[in-house]
Protein backbone atom coordinates (compact mmCIF):
# COMPACT_ATOMS: atom_id res chain seq x y z
CA UNK A 1 0.00 0.00 0.00
CA UNK A 2 2.70 2.40 1.06
CA UNK A 3 4.77 1.40 -1.91
CA UNK A 4 1.86 1.98 -4.26
CA UNK A 5 1.27 5.40 -2.75
CA UNK A 6 4.92 6.31 -3.21
CA UNK A 7 4.84 5.15 -6.83
CA UNK A 8 1.75 7.22 -7.57
CA UNK A 9 3.37 10.21 -5.88
CA UNK A 10 6.53 9.89 -7.93
CA UNK A 11 4.53 9.48 -11.16
CA UNK A 12 2.55 12.62 -10.37
CA UNK A 13 5.75 14.52 -9.62
CA UNK A 14 7.25 13.38 -12.90
CA UNK A 15 4.21 14.71 -14.76
CA UNK A 16 4.36 18.19 -13.24
CA UNK A 17 6.31 19.82 -16.12
CA UNK A 18 3.59 18.83 -18.55
CA UNK A 19 0.75 20.29 -16.54
CA UNK A 20 -0.76 23.54 -17.75
CA UNK A 21 0.92 25.86 -15.28
CA UNK A 22 -0.11 29.15 -16.86
CA UNK A 23 2.11 32.04 -17.86
CA UNK A 24 4.45 31.56 -14.90
CA UNK A 25 5.26 28.03 -16.05
CA UNK A 26 8.99 28.57 -16.47
CA UNK A 27 9.30 30.35 -13.17
CA UNK A 28 7.44 27.60 -11.31
CA UNK A 29 9.56 24.93 -12.94
CA UNK A 30 12.70 26.85 -12.05
CA UNK A 31 11.71 27.06 -8.38
CA UNK A 32 10.81 23.35 -8.36
CA UNK A 33 14.18 22.37 -9.79
CA UNK A 34 15.92 24.44 -7.14
CA UNK A 35 13.78 22.85 -4.44
CA UNK A 36 14.69 19.36 -5.65
CA UNK A 37 18.41 20.13 -5.79
CA UNK A 38 18.53 21.71 -2.36
CA UNK A 39 16.23 19.04 -0.93
CA UNK A 40 18.72 16.45 -2.14
CA UNK A 41 21.57 18.35 -0.49
CA UNK A 42 19.51 18.72 2.69
CA UNK A 43 18.79 14.99 2.73
CA UNK A 44 22.50 14.30 2.33
CA UNK A 45 23.24 16.63 5.23
CA UNK A 46 20.56 14.99 7.41
CA UNK A 47 22.19 11.59 6.87
CA UNK A 48 24.80 12.63 9.43
CA UNK A 49 22.99 15.52 11.08
CA UNK A 50 20.32 13.28 12.56
CA UNK A 51 22.95 11.41 14.52
CA UNK A 52 24.28 14.53 16.20
CA UNK A 53 27.05 14.99 13.67
CA UNK A 54 26.20 18.60 12.99
CA UNK A 55 28.20 19.99 10.10
CA UNK A 56 28.14 23.72 9.56
CA UNK A 57 30.45 23.42 6.59
CA UNK A 58 28.67 21.37 3.97
CA UNK A 59 29.24 24.27 1.61
CA UNK A 60 32.78 22.98 1.34
CA UNK A 61 31.62 19.75 -0.29
CA UNK A 62 29.04 21.54 -2.38
CA UNK A 63 31.61 24.01 -3.70
CA UNK A 64 34.24 21.37 -4.23
CA UNK A 65 31.79 19.37 -6.31
CA UNK A 66 30.56 22.28 -8.40
CA UNK A 67 34.02 23.69 -9.08
CA UNK A 68 35.58 20.32 -9.86
CA UNK A 69 33.23 19.48 -12.72
CA UNK A 70 33.00 23.03 -14.00
CA UNK A 71 36.74 23.55 -14.12
CA UNK A 72 37.30 20.14 -15.71
CA UNK A 73 34.74 20.96 -18.40
CA UNK A 74 35.83 24.53 -19.06
CA UNK A 75 39.58 23.93 -19.18
CA UNK A 76 40.02 20.32 -20.18
CA UNK A 77 36.72 19.55 -21.82
CA UNK A 78 36.13 16.61 -19.48
CA UNK A 79 32.49 15.55 -19.48
CA UNK A 80 30.65 15.94 -16.19
CA UNK A 81 29.81 12.25 -16.50
CA UNK A 82 33.46 11.66 -15.62
CA UNK A 83 33.72 14.82 -13.56
CA UNK A 84 30.92 13.91 -11.15
CA UNK A 85 32.51 10.73 -9.74
CA UNK A 86 35.77 12.67 -9.50
CA UNK A 87 34.03 15.49 -7.67
CA UNK A 88 32.33 13.07 -5.27
CA UNK A 89 35.66 11.31 -4.77
CA UNK A 90 37.41 14.57 -3.90
CA UNK A 91 34.67 15.47 -1.44
CA UNK A 92 34.97 12.05 0.17
CA UNK A 93 38.71 12.56 0.44
CA UNK A 94 38.24 15.98 1.99
CA UNK A 95 35.73 14.53 4.45
CA UNK A 96 38.23 11.81 5.32
CA UNK A 97 41.01 14.31 5.98
CA UNK A 98 38.65 16.32 8.16
CA UNK A 99 36.71 13.50 9.76
CA UNK A 100 39.34 10.97 10.69
CA UNK A 101 41.30 13.17 13.11
CA UNK A 102 38.07 14.62 14.49
CA UNK A 103 36.53 11.24 15.24
CA UNK A 104 39.73 9.57 16.30
CA UNK A 105 40.43 12.25 18.88
CA UNK A 106 36.85 12.69 19.98
CA UNK A 107 36.16 16.12 18.60
CA UNK A 108 32.41 16.03 19.12
CA UNK A 109 29.37 18.26 19.47
CA UNK A 110 30.04 21.96 19.28
CA UNK A 111 33.72 21.46 18.61
CA UNK A 112 33.01 19.32 15.59
CA UNK A 113 30.53 21.92 14.34
CA UNK A 114 33.19 24.60 14.67
CA UNK A 115 35.75 22.57 12.76
CA UNK A 116 33.32 22.09 9.90
CA UNK A 117 32.39 25.77 10.01
CA UNK A 118 36.04 26.60 9.43
CA UNK A 119 36.27 24.08 6.61
CA UNK A 120 33.47 25.75 4.69
CA UNK A 121 35.20 29.10 4.94
CA UNK A 122 38.60 27.68 3.99
CA UNK A 123 37.18 26.28 0.77
CA UNK A 124 35.41 29.56 -0.02
CA UNK A 125 38.58 31.57 0.55
CA UNK A 126 40.61 29.11 -1.51
CA UNK A 127 38.23 29.53 -4.43
CA UNK A 128 38.51 33.31 -4.16
CA UNK A 129 42.28 33.22 -3.82
CA UNK A 130 42.78 31.07 -6.92
CA UNK A 131 41.10 33.70 -9.05
CA UNK A 132 43.23 33.01 -12.12
CA UNK A 133 41.29 29.91 -12.94
CA UNK A 134 38.27 29.97 -10.60
CA UNK A 135 37.25 33.53 -11.46
CA UNK A 136 37.54 34.50 -7.80
CA UNK A 137 34.52 36.03 -6.17
CA UNK A 138 33.08 36.97 -9.55
CA UNK A 139 32.36 33.34 -10.19
CA UNK A 140 32.58 31.19 -13.23
CA UNK A 141 30.28 30.47 -16.15
CA UNK A 142 29.99 26.97 -17.49
CA UNK A 143 31.13 26.84 -21.10
CA UNK A 144 28.06 26.60 -23.32
CA UNK A 145 27.58 23.30 -25.11
CA UNK A 146 24.36 23.99 -26.95
CA UNK A 147 20.69 23.65 -26.14
CA UNK A 148 20.76 19.91 -25.74
CA UNK A 149 24.01 18.16 -25.01
CA UNK A 150 23.86 14.89 -23.17
CA UNK A 151 27.64 14.53 -22.89
CA UNK A 152 27.93 17.93 -21.23
CA UNK A 153 24.71 17.50 -19.22
CA UNK A 154 23.42 20.82 -20.48
CA UNK A 155 19.78 21.23 -21.41
CA UNK A 156 18.06 24.47 -22.24
CA UNK A 157 14.71 22.80 -21.64
CA UNK A 158 13.84 23.11 -17.95
CA UNK A 159 11.62 20.05 -18.14
CA UNK A 160 14.59 17.80 -18.72
CA UNK A 161 16.45 19.29 -15.81
CA UNK A 162 13.40 18.87 -13.68
CA UNK A 163 13.42 15.15 -14.40
CA UNK A 164 17.15 14.89 -13.76
CA UNK A 165 16.79 16.69 -10.43
CA UNK A 166 13.81 14.52 -9.54
CA UNK A 167 15.82 11.37 -10.20
CA UNK A 168 18.79 12.57 -8.16
CA UNK A 169 16.50 13.60 -5.31
CA UNK A 170 14.90 10.13 -5.35
CA UNK A 171 18.34 8.56 -5.13
CA UNK A 172 19.01 10.75 -2.10
CA UNK A 173 15.79 9.59 -0.45
CA UNK A 174 16.63 6.00 -1.25
CA UNK A 175 20.05 6.32 0.39
CA UNK A 176 18.46 7.90 3.47
CA UNK A 177 15.91 5.10 3.66
CA UNK A 178 18.58 2.47 3.17
CA UNK A 179 20.66 3.88 6.04
CA UNK A 180 17.52 4.20 8.14
CA UNK A 181 16.74 0.51 8.04
CA UNK A 182 20.29 -0.77 8.35
CA UNK A 183 22.34 -1.73 11.37
CA UNK A 184 24.23 1.50 10.72
CA UNK A 185 21.30 3.47 12.03
CA UNK A 186 21.12 1.69 15.38
CA UNK A 187 24.87 1.95 15.73
CA UNK A 188 24.95 5.65 14.94
CA UNK A 189 21.97 6.33 17.19
CA UNK A 190 23.78 4.65 20.03
CA UNK A 191 26.92 6.64 19.24
CA UNK A 192 24.87 9.83 19.11
CA UNK A 193 23.47 9.11 22.56
CA UNK A 194 26.68 8.10 24.27
CA UNK A 195 29.98 7.38 22.57
CA UNK A 196 31.56 5.66 25.55
CA UNK A 197 28.61 3.35 25.99
CA UNK A 198 28.59 2.60 22.27
CA UNK A 199 32.27 1.70 22.35
CA UNK A 200 31.68 -0.45 25.42
CA UNK A 201 29.21 -2.68 23.57
CA UNK A 202 31.61 -3.18 20.71
CA UNK A 203 30.51 -0.59 18.18
CA UNK A 204 33.47 0.69 16.13
CA UNK A 205 32.69 4.33 16.83
CA UNK A 206 35.24 6.00 14.58
CA UNK A 207 34.47 3.75 11.64
CA UNK A 208 30.73 4.31 11.68
CA UNK A 209 31.00 8.06 12.08
CA UNK A 210 33.53 8.25 9.31
CA UNK A 211 31.49 6.20 6.88
CA UNK A 212 28.32 8.24 7.27
CA UNK A 213 30.33 11.46 6.96
CA UNK A 214 31.98 10.31 3.74
CA UNK A 215 28.63 9.26 2.32
CA UNK A 216 27.07 12.60 3.20
CA UNK A 217 30.00 14.54 1.74
CA UNK A 218 30.02 12.58 -1.52
CA UNK A 219 26.29 13.08 -2.07
CA UNK A 220 26.55 16.77 -1.23
CA UNK A 221 29.23 17.17 -3.89
CA UNK A 222 26.87 15.58 -6.42
CA UNK A 223 24.29 18.18 -5.37
CA UNK A 224 26.85 20.90 -6.09
CA UNK A 225 27.51 19.47 -9.54
CA UNK A 226 23.81 19.36 -10.28
CA UNK A 227 23.42 22.98 -9.25
CA UNK A 228 26.33 24.05 -11.45
CA UNK A 229 24.98 22.13 -14.44
CA UNK A 230 21.55 23.64 -14.01
CA UNK A 231 22.37 27.27 -13.30
CA UNK A 232 25.56 27.16 -15.44
CA UNK A 233 27.03 29.87 -13.26
CA UNK A 234 28.76 29.31 -9.94
CA UNK A 235 30.38 31.60 -7.43
CA UNK A 236 31.98 31.03 -4.06
CA UNK A 237 29.29 32.95 -2.20
CA UNK A 238 26.39 30.73 -3.25
CA UNK A 239 28.22 27.41 -3.21
CA UNK A 240 30.78 27.53 -0.39
CA UNK A 241 31.28 29.22 2.92
CA UNK A 242 29.12 29.89 5.93
CA UNK A 243 26.09 31.35 4.17
CA UNK A 244 25.11 28.35 2.10
CA UNK A 245 26.21 25.90 4.78
CA UNK A 246 23.83 27.42 7.28
CA UNK A 247 21.09 27.68 4.69
CA UNK A 248 21.24 23.90 4.27
CA UNK A 249 21.14 23.35 8.03
CA UNK A 250 18.24 25.75 8.60
CA UNK A 251 16.11 24.19 5.93
CA UNK A 252 16.65 20.72 7.36
CA UNK A 253 16.06 21.82 10.95
CA UNK A 254 12.89 23.55 9.81
CA UNK A 255 11.51 20.47 8.13
CA UNK A 256 12.89 17.98 10.59
CA UNK A 257 15.97 15.84 10.24
CA UNK A 258 14.62 12.62 11.71
CA UNK A 259 12.16 11.85 8.95
CA UNK A 260 12.62 10.87 5.32
CA UNK A 261 10.76 13.84 3.90
CA UNK A 262 11.67 16.36 6.59
CA UNK A 263 14.61 17.90 4.72
CA UNK A 264 12.56 18.12 1.55
CA UNK A 265 9.61 19.80 3.23
CA UNK A 266 11.95 22.21 5.01
CA UNK A 267 13.74 23.10 1.79
CA UNK A 268 10.51 23.59 -0.11
CA UNK A 269 9.20 25.87 2.63
CA UNK A 270 12.34 27.97 2.94
CA UNK A 271 12.61 28.43 -0.80
CA UNK A 272 8.89 29.17 -1.15
CA UNK A 273 9.04 31.61 1.75
CA UNK A 274 12.12 33.35 0.40
CA UNK A 275 10.58 33.63 -3.06
CA UNK A 276 7.26 34.86 -1.70
CA UNK A 277 8.85 37.45 0.55
CA UNK A 278 11.11 38.55 -2.28
CA UNK A 279 8.15 39.10 -4.56
CA UNK A 280 5.94 40.61 -1.85
CA UNK A 281 8.41 43.03 -0.36
CA UNK A 282 10.76 43.51 -3.28
CA UNK A 283 13.20 46.23 -2.39
CA UNK A 284 10.86 48.10 -0.08
CA UNK A 285 11.78 46.52 3.23
CA UNK A 286 15.30 45.29 2.83
CA UNK A 287 15.95 42.56 5.35
CA UNK A 288 12.26 41.94 6.03
CA UNK A 289 12.38 38.56 4.34
CA UNK A 290 15.32 37.48 6.48
CA UNK A 291 13.62 38.73 9.64
CA UNK A 292 10.45 36.73 9.04
CA UNK A 293 12.48 33.73 8.05
CA UNK A 294 14.60 33.96 11.20
CA UNK A 295 11.54 34.41 13.40
CA UNK A 296 9.83 31.38 11.88
CA UNK A 297 12.95 29.32 12.51
CA UNK A 298 13.21 30.36 16.16
CA UNK A 299 9.54 29.55 16.78
CA UNK A 300 9.82 26.16 15.15
CA UNK A 301 12.93 25.19 17.07
CA UNK A 302 11.17 26.07 20.32
CA UNK A 303 7.76 24.55 19.64
CA UNK A 304 8.45 21.77 17.14
CA UNK A 305 11.91 20.43 17.92
CA UNK A 306 11.36 17.52 15.53
CA UNK A 307 10.81 20.04 12.73
CA UNK A 308 7.68 21.14 10.95
CA UNK A 309 7.16 17.93 9.03
CA UNK A 310 8.51 15.67 11.76
CA UNK A 311 6.45 17.39 14.44
CA UNK A 312 3.20 17.36 12.49
CA UNK A 313 3.75 13.76 11.45
CA UNK A 314 4.18 12.79 15.09
CA UNK A 315 0.94 14.58 15.96
CA UNK A 316 -1.00 12.85 13.21
CA UNK A 317 0.40 9.45 14.08
CA UNK A 318 -0.47 9.95 17.73
CA UNK A 319 -4.02 10.82 16.77
CA UNK A 320 -4.36 7.90 14.41
CA UNK A 321 -2.78 5.15 16.49
CA UNK A 322 -3.10 4.23 20.16
CA UNK A 323 -0.10 5.54 22.12
CA UNK A 324 3.03 3.47 21.90
CA UNK A 325 5.72 3.36 24.52
CA UNK A 326 8.51 3.98 22.09
CA UNK A 327 9.16 5.30 18.65
Amino acid sequence: MKRLLALVGVALLALVPWLPLGPARLYILHVLVLVLIWAFVGTAWALMGRFGLVSLGHGAFLGLGAYTTTLLWNFLGVSPWIGTPLAAGLAVLLALVLGYPCFRFRVVGHYFALVTLALGEVIRLLIIAERDWTGGSLGLTLKDAGAFNLAAIQFADKRIFYLVALAVWLVGLWVWWWVDRSMTRSALEAIGEDETAAASVGIPVTGFKLRITLLSAGLTAVGGVLYAQYVTYINPGTLAGIGVSLQIVFAVVLGGMYTLLGPTVGTALTIALAEYLRVAFGVRFLGMADTIYGLALVLIIIFLPAGLYGGLRELVLRRAAPPRAAT
Binding site: S186, A197, A198, S200
Partner: protein, 234 residues
Protein backbone atom coordinates in the same frame (compact mmCIF):
# COMPACT_ATOMS: atom_id res chain seq x y z
CA UNK B 1 42.60 -15.18 32.28
CA UNK B 2 43.51 -11.50 32.40
CA UNK B 3 46.99 -10.26 33.13
CA UNK B 4 47.87 -6.62 33.52
CA UNK B 5 51.63 -6.41 33.73
CA UNK B 6 53.61 -3.31 34.60
CA UNK B 7 51.08 -1.00 33.03
CA UNK B 8 51.66 2.73 33.07
CA UNK B 9 48.96 4.89 31.54
CA UNK B 10 47.43 8.33 31.72
CA UNK B 11 45.93 11.25 29.90
CA UNK B 12 48.25 13.61 28.04
CA UNK B 13 50.94 14.81 30.42
CA UNK B 14 49.20 13.29 33.38
CA UNK B 15 50.01 9.79 34.53
CA UNK B 16 47.17 8.03 36.33
CA UNK B 17 48.62 4.52 36.67
CA UNK B 18 52.18 3.61 37.58
CA UNK B 19 53.54 0.15 36.96
CA UNK B 20 50.33 -1.67 37.84
CA UNK B 21 50.27 -5.47 38.01
CA UNK B 22 47.05 -7.38 38.33
CA UNK B 23 45.81 -10.87 37.55
CA UNK B 24 42.29 -12.23 37.21
CA UNK B 25 41.93 -16.01 36.98
CA UNK B 26 39.04 -17.71 35.21
CA UNK B 27 35.95 -17.94 37.40
CA UNK B 28 37.23 -15.46 39.93
CA UNK B 29 35.70 -12.25 41.19
CA UNK B 30 38.41 -9.70 41.77
CA UNK B 31 37.88 -6.31 43.35
CA UNK B 32 39.89 -3.15 42.97
CA UNK B 33 39.27 -0.71 45.79
CA UNK B 34 40.71 2.66 46.61
CA UNK B 35 39.84 6.26 47.17
CA UNK B 36 38.70 8.79 44.58
CA UNK B 37 41.32 9.60 42.00
CA UNK B 38 43.31 6.45 42.67
CA UNK B 39 43.12 5.44 39.03
CA UNK B 40 40.49 2.72 39.33
CA UNK B 41 38.42 3.91 36.42
CA UNK B 42 41.53 4.49 34.34
CA UNK B 43 42.52 0.89 34.97
CA UNK B 44 39.15 -0.27 33.65
CA UNK B 45 39.45 1.97 30.62
CA UNK B 46 42.91 0.64 29.88
CA UNK B 47 41.65 -2.93 29.93
CA UNK B 48 38.70 -2.14 27.67
CA UNK B 49 40.88 -0.18 25.24
CA UNK B 50 39.42 3.25 25.84
CA UNK B 51 42.75 4.48 27.22
CA UNK B 52 46.03 3.35 25.67
CA UNK B 53 48.81 1.89 27.77
CA UNK B 54 52.00 3.92 27.76
CA UNK B 55 54.18 1.06 28.99
CA UNK B 56 53.51 -2.53 29.93
CA UNK B 57 50.97 -4.92 28.54
CA UNK B 58 47.46 -6.26 29.00
CA UNK B 59 46.95 -9.91 28.05
CA UNK B 60 43.76 -11.91 27.75
CA UNK B 61 44.22 -15.69 27.86
CA UNK B 62 47.89 -15.19 27.20
CA UNK B 63 47.43 -13.05 24.08
CA UNK B 64 48.26 -9.38 24.17
CA UNK B 65 45.43 -6.92 23.67
CA UNK B 66 48.09 -4.64 22.24
CA UNK B 67 46.70 -2.00 19.93
CA UNK B 68 43.29 -3.68 19.67
CA UNK B 69 40.59 -0.97 19.44
CA UNK B 70 37.76 -0.90 21.98
CA UNK B 71 35.33 -2.78 19.74
CA UNK B 72 37.95 -5.44 19.06
CA UNK B 73 38.37 -5.97 22.77
CA UNK B 74 34.65 -6.55 23.17
CA UNK B 75 34.92 -9.13 20.41
CA UNK B 76 37.77 -10.81 22.31
CA UNK B 77 35.42 -11.31 25.26
CA UNK B 78 35.72 -8.39 27.65
CA UNK B 79 32.54 -6.44 28.40
CA UNK B 80 32.83 -3.13 30.16
CA UNK B 81 30.01 -1.70 32.28
CA UNK B 82 31.21 1.87 32.39
CA UNK B 83 30.98 4.17 35.37
CA UNK B 84 27.71 6.04 35.67
CA UNK B 85 25.76 3.27 33.90
CA UNK B 86 25.81 4.83 30.44
CA UNK B 87 22.73 3.19 29.08
CA UNK B 88 21.12 4.63 25.95
CA UNK B 89 18.33 6.67 27.55
CA UNK B 90 16.17 7.20 24.47
CA UNK B 91 16.21 3.59 23.38
CA UNK B 92 13.90 1.06 25.01
CA UNK B 93 15.19 -1.56 27.42
CA UNK B 94 15.03 -4.19 24.71
CA UNK B 95 16.80 -1.97 22.17
CA UNK B 96 19.54 -1.37 24.70
CA UNK B 97 20.00 -5.11 25.07
CA UNK B 98 19.97 -5.48 21.31
CA UNK B 99 22.79 -2.97 21.06
CA UNK B 100 24.69 -5.05 23.58
CA UNK B 101 24.59 -7.88 21.07
CA UNK B 102 25.93 -5.65 18.33
CA UNK B 103 28.79 -7.90 17.27
CA UNK B 104 27.83 -10.48 14.63
CA UNK B 105 28.72 -13.45 16.84
CA UNK B 106 26.59 -12.07 19.67
CA UNK B 107 23.74 -11.19 17.31
CA UNK B 108 23.44 -14.80 16.22
CA UNK B 109 22.98 -15.92 19.82
CA UNK B 110 20.64 -13.02 20.64
CA UNK B 111 17.46 -14.99 21.41
CA UNK B 112 19.21 -17.25 23.91
CA UNK B 113 21.18 -14.54 25.67
CA UNK B 114 18.29 -12.15 25.98
CA UNK B 115 16.17 -14.85 27.59
CA UNK B 116 18.92 -15.49 30.12
CA UNK B 117 19.29 -11.81 30.89
CA UNK B 118 15.55 -11.48 31.45
CA UNK B 119 15.66 -14.50 33.72
CA UNK B 120 18.46 -12.92 35.71
CA UNK B 121 16.79 -9.51 35.83
CA UNK B 122 13.01 -10.11 35.65
CA UNK B 123 12.34 -6.41 36.12
CA UNK B 124 13.95 -5.74 32.74
CA UNK B 125 11.53 -8.15 31.08
CA UNK B 126 8.64 -6.27 32.66
CA UNK B 127 9.94 -3.00 31.27
CA UNK B 128 11.27 -4.20 27.95
CA UNK B 129 9.25 -1.65 25.94
CA UNK B 130 9.94 1.26 28.25
CA UNK B 131 12.53 3.90 27.44
CA UNK B 132 15.68 3.18 29.40
CA UNK B 133 15.90 6.76 30.61
CA UNK B 134 12.68 6.30 32.59
CA UNK B 135 14.06 3.43 34.69
CA UNK B 136 15.18 3.96 38.27
CA UNK B 137 18.88 4.16 39.00
CA UNK B 138 19.06 0.57 40.18
CA UNK B 139 17.17 -0.71 37.17
CA UNK B 140 19.44 1.26 34.87
CA UNK B 141 22.43 -0.38 36.49
CA UNK B 142 20.85 -3.79 35.96
CA UNK B 143 20.25 -2.87 32.35
CA UNK B 144 23.87 -1.80 31.98
CA UNK B 145 25.01 -5.16 33.35
CA UNK B 146 22.47 -7.02 31.24
CA UNK B 147 23.65 -5.19 28.16
CA UNK B 148 27.23 -6.17 28.92
CA UNK B 149 26.17 -9.83 29.23
CA UNK B 150 24.61 -9.64 25.77
CA UNK B 151 27.98 -9.64 24.07
CA UNK B 152 28.62 -13.08 25.57
CA UNK B 153 31.75 -12.04 27.44
CA UNK B 154 34.29 -14.14 29.29
CA UNK B 155 35.19 -11.28 31.58
CA UNK B 156 32.98 -8.48 32.86
CA UNK B 157 34.41 -5.20 34.05
CA UNK B 158 32.11 -3.45 36.52
CA UNK B 159 33.00 0.14 37.22
CA UNK B 160 31.40 1.52 40.42
CA UNK B 161 28.07 -0.28 40.02
CA UNK B 162 26.76 1.12 43.33
CA UNK B 163 27.45 4.71 42.38
CA UNK B 164 24.50 6.95 43.19
CA UNK B 165 22.20 4.15 44.36
CA UNK B 166 20.12 4.08 47.51
CA UNK B 167 21.53 1.78 50.23
CA UNK B 168 18.71 -0.77 49.83
CA UNK B 169 19.32 -0.85 46.11
CA UNK B 170 23.04 -1.35 46.66
CA UNK B 171 22.34 -4.51 48.65
CA UNK B 172 20.00 -5.85 45.97
CA UNK B 173 22.49 -5.03 43.28
CA UNK B 174 25.28 -6.89 45.00
CA UNK B 175 22.99 -9.90 45.34
CA UNK B 176 22.43 -9.77 41.62
CA UNK B 177 26.13 -9.48 40.91
CA UNK B 178 26.61 -12.58 43.06
CA UNK B 179 24.09 -14.38 40.88
CA UNK B 180 25.88 -13.26 37.72
CA UNK B 181 29.02 -14.70 39.27
CA UNK B 182 27.34 -17.99 40.00
CA UNK B 183 26.42 -18.18 36.32
CA UNK B 184 30.14 -18.67 35.77
CA UNK B 185 31.24 -15.24 34.61
CA UNK B 186 34.61 -13.90 35.62
CA UNK B 187 34.31 -10.46 37.16
CA UNK B 188 36.64 -7.58 37.75
CA UNK B 189 34.91 -4.97 39.86
CA UNK B 190 35.91 -1.51 40.96
CA UNK B 191 34.09 -0.12 43.97
CA UNK B 192 34.13 2.50 46.64
CA UNK B 193 31.69 0.53 48.72
CA UNK B 194 34.55 -1.48 50.17
CA UNK B 195 32.67 -3.54 52.69
CA UNK B 196 30.18 -4.87 50.17
CA UNK B 197 32.66 -5.57 47.47
CA UNK B 198 35.10 -7.36 49.74
CA UNK B 199 32.35 -9.68 50.87
CA UNK B 200 31.67 -10.55 47.24
CA UNK B 201 35.16 -10.86 45.81
CA UNK B 202 37.69 -13.67 46.11
CA UNK B 203 40.70 -11.44 45.89
CA UNK B 204 41.23 -7.72 46.00
CA UNK B 205 43.73 -5.03 45.14
CA UNK B 206 44.06 -1.72 46.92
CA UNK B 207 44.95 1.07 44.53
CA UNK B 208 46.27 4.38 45.82
CA UNK B 209 47.45 7.33 43.71
CA UNK B 210 47.99 5.13 40.70
CA UNK B 211 49.90 2.34 42.41
CA UNK B 212 48.87 -1.04 43.80
CA UNK B 213 49.43 -0.71 47.50
CA UNK B 214 48.16 -4.05 48.82
CA UNK B 215 46.85 -7.21 47.27
CA UNK B 216 45.50 -10.40 48.73
CA UNK B 217 42.45 -12.45 49.56
CA UNK B 218 39.44 -10.23 49.98
CA UNK B 219 38.71 -11.54 53.46
CA UNK B 220 42.29 -10.84 54.60
CA UNK B 221 42.20 -7.37 53.15
CA UNK B 222 38.98 -6.58 54.98
CA UNK B 223 40.68 -7.54 58.24
CA UNK B 224 43.71 -5.37 57.85
CA UNK B 225 43.60 -2.49 60.26
CA UNK B 226 44.48 0.33 57.94
CA UNK B 227 42.03 -0.81 55.30
CA UNK B 228 39.30 -0.97 57.89
CA UNK B 229 40.12 2.43 59.27
CA UNK B 230 40.52 4.13 55.95
CA UNK B 231 37.79 2.59 53.86
CA UNK B 232 35.32 0.53 55.80
CA UNK B 233 34.70 2.97 58.56
CA UNK B 234 34.98 0.52 61.46
Amino acid sequence: MLEVSSVTAGYGEFTALWDVNLVVNAGEAVAVVGPNGAGKTTLMRVISGLVRVRAGEVRLEGRSLGAEPAHGIVARGIAHVPEGRRIFPKLTVEENLKMGAFLPAARRRYAGTVARVYELFPVLAERRRQRAGTLSGGEQQMLAIGRALMSGPKLILLDEPSLGLAPVMVLRLFDLIRRVREEGYTILIVEQNVRQVLSLADRAYLLEVGRIRVEGRAADLADQDFVRQAYVGL
